[in-house]
Subunit: 181 residues, 2 copies
DNA sequence: CGACACATGTAACACGTTACATGATTTG
DNA sequence: CAAATCATGTAACGTGTTACATGTGTCG
């Protein structure tokens, strides 16, 4: 529902057409989740169908939309309702790890390490982006991504530690035992 | 793709039928993202179509599926490939906040506060669940949720602080100024 | 002119959710 | 027997992605 409500919120600033909406969305979120132009049009059609936006007369090949009263209601509701845990999509990494543990023949530590490397790289890229100038909304989005990536790293480390405790190494550490010869 | 790959990974333990798969998935993830039974069947059909699983002969009204060699390949690939930032769904809260800032007439601090309360409650529930016994996979999933919620809380506080700096209160704090009477 | 950006749209597909229909088995 | 649980499946819908088709305007 992020795209639907996002476009709707953008239209509260005034009528806009598809391309403008995409540009505005991408700019507000700093291009973190670039919007496919095709989806803008399909979403606008659905919003129009539900009477949340209305098409204005075509002009110069451009087809601006304006938000309706019902659309404004929807936006107000969106902003005043928190995102609940149940609304969120499944956390793929959490699922992957949970299943990796109980799937025979999977190198769980490897899975953790691979993800750690990838997330680390992502975090570095975000940190680099932080040094560049930007508007407040985009800076906060960036911070959200950074906080999230840091949390994932902490979690991965925590998992690594738990796994060691859970399944001690199959091959014991070498000791000073007499070897028959 | 979490469901598709999740079911596939479960089938590596041995053939299972729909109901078993749902139970196994829910148990592994501690019921955090309960699986709709309808989706299990539609997903199984698609997996069968793609030759990642094969249906075994029906028995007692139960229709178990077994994973194919191609399916095993897919699972191996899933476990050895990290979840990239671009794979993740859009962060609805981040989008909401970014747009709230630039949408006229929105009480941004209110949006932050509402979310903070909701996330706080969620975190408390997770902390309570932590005190109950559980298997390692589910405990780690729970930890992932906790780390995530904590990160969101930190982010929300960070946003609140940034917003104060960005737009100082319209009504200045009361001072000891002479009031005409 | 040719390439590129702007602009709109459609079709097909993947994934996920909900609701519904159907039947077998178990249990109070 | 009636209700609940187990078990399978289908249909319809919502959301999102990709690819494709089409046309206009601008600029080197």
């Amino acid at each position: 529902m992020s795209v639907k409500h996002g476009l709707l919120a953008l239209l509260e600033r005034g009528p806009m057409y598809g391309y403008q909406l995409r540009a505005a969305f991408d700019s507000a979120t700093g291009g973190t989740w670039p919007l496919n132009i095709g989806q803008v049009y399909t979403t606008l059609s659905r919003l129009e169908r539900d009477d949340l936006v209305a098409a204005l007369p075509e002009n110069d090949g451009q087809r601006p939309y304006e938000i309706t009263a019902q659309g404004r209601d929807e936006v107000r509701k969106w902003f005043s309702t928190p995102v609940r845990q149940g609304d969120r999509p499944r956390d793929e990494m959490a699922i992957k790890l949970a299943l990796a543990i109980t799937t025979p023949g999977v190198d769980v530590a490897g899975v953790v390490m691979t993800q750690r490397t990838a997330t680390m790289r992502t975090l570095q890229e975000y940190t680099r982006l932080k040094t560049e100038p930007g508007e407040l909304p985009w800076l906060l989005v960036l911070d959200a991504m950074i906080f999230q990536a840091e949390a994932e790293l902490r979690w991965l480390d925590h998992c690594e530690a738990s796994l060691v405790r859970y399944s001690p190494p199959a091959v014991p550490a070498p000791t000073d035992v007499e070897v028959p010869r």
